[in-house]
Symmetry: C2
Subunit: 199 residues, 2 copies
């Protein structure tokens, strides 16, 4: 049997604190067909970060040039630093036959969904707003003002979950991971991506 | 968290001998959200078959009346006996919140896909024509002439695999089952069927 496959772009999004990063890392660890896209950023490298691996560290001027060239599938400026996902990065990896997964905030996810309509889009939901609050405070990485801002954003983001193709509730991490993993397994079998030839 | 789900109709098809029945039975054994539809037939009950459980056994006149009433999602006459899947059966089970799985030949599958465009459609492929031949002869339930007729049909059926949403190669039964099962898990998480409300 001969077969051909078309690579896919997978967008995993959800409100801050829902556990996107954990599921994303677990997917990359377990499925060798998946890879990530190295983003660009205008912030400086933190200790231990390597250019081209953690990020492509670029200047504000280079960033503005890329924006002008429409080089991003999504980009955003947060607290004075800019970040973006390069079309060239995503395309290069997909041309190698890899499926690219993006762990991305809802604003960026909507940009990607608009520019890549055949991407696979998954939105993660918390079981409750209270659980999201507890996770954000438990993470202990942000001050209370920032946490409250994120919780405020979460309401609007969650109301737009229906814009994604799939929704998964992250109440139990194992179960949520299994559901996301099943979505990726299923999407690989779609007749618009998988072309087996019986001989 | 409150949630609502919309039931789905799942069509599993493929050429004769591909292993549809085995995967179908395993799905019904393992996923309590799934159920089957009892078909009607004009043939008489075989020893051990019970009316309303294995089939609804009906007369030719009753069958013709149902055809005239457009009561079937699919129906066919094979070797002088008629078979059909009743719309009322499928709808009744879906209204109870169950997902209905049909194990059905490609001709019937195309009828179902035409009348229920939001069904989930999965086509099973053999790894090769030779493997299909071996399975049909190994099953030992049909005479060689009938087997060759089925193998002849298989070519045309396999060429239409792209009409289904998903295609799964049944080379290794466990792997094929896991892929079909992942498709069903994924489809349950689709935002047009699953409506969770975060509170």
């Amino acid at each position: 049997m001969r077969e051909e496959r078309k690579s896919m772009l997978i967008v995993i999004s959800g409100p801050s604190g829902v556990g996107k990063g954990t599921i994303y890392n677990k997917l990359l660890d377990n499925d060798p067909s998946l890879t990530f896209s190295v983003s660009v950023t205008t912030r400086g490298p933190r200790p231990g970060e390597t250019d081209g691996i953690d990020y492509f560290f670029i200047s504000d001027e280079e960033y503005q040039k890329l924006v002008a060239e429409d080089a991003f599938v999504e980009h955003a400026t947060v607290h004075g630093h800019s970040y973006g996902t390069l079309k060239s990065q995503v395309e290069e990896k997909m041309e190698k036959g890899l499926n690219v997964v993006l762990d991305i905030d809802p604003q960026g996810a909507r940009s990607v969904m608009a520019s890549c309509p055949d991407c696979v889009s998954i939105f993660l939901l918390p079981p409750s707003y209270e659980s999201l609050r507890q996770r954000l405070y438990g993470r202990n990485t942000d001050d209370p003002k920032e946490i409250e801002r994120r919780l405020g954003n979460a309401r609007g983001e969650i109301e737009q979950a229906h814009l994604y193709q799939y929704v998964v509730v992250n109440d139990n991490l194992e179960l949520a991971y299994d559901q996301v993993s099943a979505i990726i397994t299923a999407e690989k079998q779609r007749t618009n991506r998988f072309f087996p030839v019986v001989e």
